[in-house]
Amino acid sequence: MFSGNQKISSRQLYRNYTAGFISLSALLPPLIINGSNIVSILLAVIFLGIFLAGSAVIPRPVSTAVKALCYVHYWILGTMLVRMTGLLVQEFLLTDTKLWIIAGWFYVICYYNLYKGLECRLRVSEVLFPFFTVLLIFLSILMYGEVQIHRLEELEYIWNMGQVQKGYELFCWLGAIQSLWHLNGQLQDEHKWRTGVWKIWLSGAVITILWSLFTYCIYGNAGHTGLMFPLANAMTLAHFPGNVIGRMDTLFVFAWMIGLFLLCSSLFAPLVDGEPDKQRKYLLFALLSASYAAVLLPECMEWGQKLLYYVSTPAQLLLLFFYAVTGNGKKKVAVCVLPFVFLFLTGCSAQELEQRSLVTAVGVDAGEESPFLLTFQFGTSAKEEPKEPFVTEAKSLREAEELYWKNSWKHMDFNHLKNIYFSQEILDTEDMENLLEEIQIDGAYSRGTLVHITEEEAAREAEKEEQPKDGTPIHRLLNEWYNNGRSWK
């Protein structure tokens, strides 16, 4: 009676693409924002606005060959986004789990979503959108305490070719929204099409700029350098009031994943429109398998970016221009037959609670044979006997963790690390920078961990049962360090 009409509502369109746009905004602009390149982000948003305005008025391409050309573009983008999603999950949700498992499952569900057709895919996004946005807004509010609005005054509005180039590059990534063009004419209320595209752009653009400013207000100028996903790292600062829930970054990544899933589904939808007939389903399977194989190669990001910046995005722009000038043209582009990769998913590295030692405090002193003498204090419940701290010499926290694993059957769990103590004597050493770098980059350490400088041995403070609840979050220390040219004292 109603289904199978392949027509979508303006709400479905809005929710699907806005969710994708917001996910990209949370993923990419925070990576490039610093005091002097806010202009590039504004430019990217403007470029995208112009592109979408074009796709709102120019009829969608109907030739299969042209659509296939566009699809290659989306495929490249989608593949890179899946790799980034996989890395995000690996870093914040499933440490030590292989990327091929994470990505494999992602593709399985993606295939299932696409297999069911356009209507089903858009219904999924229609339902998920409210959860996704509410979670993101909620988590952002929880971080309010760490946002320093005065940092906005430090922003510089510099206009030069460098900014244009960065803006273009970001636009290429935001181009994931470009597949909107192919839905032109598929809306139930045709008259709402242009308004719909305008609303998507406006919401996405506002959120892109807000996320950028938000992360800048947290990290300051280049404060996030070296972080893989700055916003996710910033979320480690978010705590639910009343100590009901611990670190919130897991939930953030959970919400973020929803948006990225929707976005990747849009990008991988074969030729975007139409019922998935048998032939299309085989094609889809082949394309996803090839994408999966590509995701597992680290080089795919480098190659993908080159293709995106210099080949596929310019081709998209040309196509749009071509259609604007001449209407439906025909271009013969062969669709590559891509190798078939079978997913065989095994293996995991979950750890039971009793196999974990919850580190609550770390003391860092100068070592004799290695740069640091590290003392790890473990948490125990009120009924348990206090555990002996683990003391070892190592050149990094990671090395100490491995040493502990060799001597014990348990893993160190840094998710509940509350305090880090540095003795005064190590502050001037070069190795200290390496240690800070490690804490900065590794998602295992919450940026809300309190840091203390001790005049005597840090180990003594770390070993104490009663630990202070006030102090400076390490996040501020790291920001000072980066923002002042790695001179933080």
């Binding site: 303006s10 399985v108 069911k116 229609e126 919130m248 959970f254 979950a350 125990t380 419940s381």
Partner: protein, 468 residues
């Protein structure tokens, strides 16, 4: 309509057209005055017993003459017999004891705090009468059909003629005719034969034991399928939303009803995923819990020989066993087994260090959540999916739980019940101008529920308006 005609043939024609396709309304030719005077007796089956007809038609007492067809129709649908006589411009109402009352039976599985206590019985005729009792409108049609080569089971399709999409009836009739079967012993068998997505764990027919629920569905433009020997009738088309609604949602104030619905939705999500979230958090995402809690959980787990996945599965399966045993045993013993089994097994398992106390809490809470879903069949789907979710949670943490959610959501997005998207009104609600959302997770005040849901014909969706 208007004044009663003195010509019986004209009255017969009126009855024929007015009550066409109303298989529950019968008419009988009678002769009075030693066969010299012909008459037509019309009555609602079940509401008027044969014995009473015999007594009254021969002219004992309590006969009231009525002058218009309108009055005659109202008297008939109120459960009385009406008698037309040749040459008489009046119709005679023959009083009867009327429709079956609360004595019939009580709805056991859909109890409500407010509203009728009546439930369907095992007789198709009686069940149709219980619906007719609530919808005294000749536009409510009843089409009876016999199914089952050997059982010859009587079924009835009950619907409001001017509200339903005509192809809905054609579809169900075709599906019912698509199989030749020995016997239909319950509506559940018919349900499985006529479902389109028969591999799905989610029901595509709503089942109810309550006549008021069935009547409400008919007023929404849906069709009710009554099967003889079954106290459960099937309602279609159905959507995800309708499985979360109970009769008293509309009888209570909107704030209370909204709160209850939100609870049920939340309960459904937790019924499927709470144990999985527990396993995921304790084995992967300890950072989500505060340090004190995670330490006490770790302490509670000390000495438990199974991994979290194992203890959750053990407790879940034990719970299912208690539930299954409770159903099979006679009433009071079944209840006792439920309580005793739950308490003793849970407590003993904790004492014997087989499981940790937190797992007992998790499993009990999940069970509560699954019982909060009003439709048993629908709740079973969540109970079953829970196991897949647990494995995914143990394997891939919250990522696995998210993948499970996505799988279920994609599946539900693809489902439809007789062409209506299953996830209405959370998807595609523009089909009815977003009106259906007013009676979904949030139940708007009754005065604002002016339109029927998407099930009703497009031009017959107004159900409430203020009088001029």
């Amino acid at each position: 309509m208007g004044e009663i005609s003195p010509q019986l043939s004209q009255n017969k024609e009126w009855v024929k057209t007015r009550f066409e396709k109303c298989d529950d309304i019968l008419n009988r030719q009678v002769f009075l005055d030693n066969g010299r005077r012909e008459g037509l007796l019309v009555y609602v089956e079940v509401a008027v017993s044969n014995l009473m007809l015999e007594e009254h038609v021969i002219g004992l007492s309590d006969v009231q003459p009525l002058r218009t067809y309108q009055e005659g129709e109202a008297a008939l649908l109120a459960g009385n017999g009406i008698l037309f006589l040749e040459g008489d411009d009046m119709v005679y109402k023959i009083s009867s004891k009327g429709y079956p009352g609360i004595g019939v039976s009580k709805a056991e599985s859909e109890k409500v705090m407010r509203g009728s206590r009546e439930g369907f019985t095992e007789s198709e005729k009686l069940n149709v009468a219980l619906i007719r009792k609530r919808l005294r409108d000749p536009r409510m049609k009843v089409e009876e059909q016999i199914i089952g080569k050997r059982s010859n089971t009587m079924t009835a399709l009950v619907y409001m003629e001017d509200l339903i999409y005509p192809n809905l009836l054609d579809t169900i009739k075709k599906r019912m005719a698509a199989y030749e079967i020995d016997g239909i012993l319950d509506s559940g068998m018919l349900e499985q034969l006529t479902e389109k997505h028969w591999l799905s764990p989610f029901p595509q027919f709503q089942s109810t034991e309550r006549p008021d629920r069935a009547a409400s569905a008919i007023l929404e433009g849906r069709v009710v399928l009554v099967t003889d020997h079954s106290p459960t009738v099937l309602v279609f088309p159905s959507d995800y939303n309708s499985f979360f609604q109970t009769s008293d949602d509309w009888y209570n104030r909107f704030e209370i009803a909204t709160f209850a619905r939100m609870l049920r939705f939340f309960a459904a999500i937790l019924a499927m995923s709470f144990p999985a979230i527990y396993v995921a958090v304790t084995t992967w995402h300890t950072s989500l819990l505060p340090t004190n809690l995670i330490l006490s959980m770790a302490e509670a787990r000390a000495g438990v020989p199974f991994p979290s996945l194992g203890e959750v599965l053990l407790m879940e399966i034990s719970f299912e066993l208690i539930r299954e045993a409770g159903i099979r045993l006679p009433g009071p013993i079944g209840n006792t087994i439920g309580i005793v089994g739950g308490l003793i097994i849970g407590q003993s398992a904790v004492t014997a260090n087989v499981v940790s106390p937190i797992v007992v809490i998790v499993v009990a809470f999940t069970a509560l959540c699954s019982f909060a879903i009003p439709n048993e069949e629908f709740a079973s789907a969540f109970r079953l999916l829970k196991y897949g979710c647990i494995f995914m949670g143990a394997w891939l943490g919250l990522y696995g739980v998210l993948l499970s959610y996505l799988w279920v959501l994609i599946h539900l997005s693809h489902l439809n019940s007789f062409g209506i998207p299953y996830l209405m009104p959370y998807v595609a609600s523009d089909l009815n101008g977003y009106e259906d959302e007013k009676d979904s997770l949030v139940r708007f005040p009754f005065r604002m529920l002016t339109r029927r849901p998407v099930f009703a014909k497009r031009d017959a969706r107004v159900k409430l308006r203020k009088k001029e």
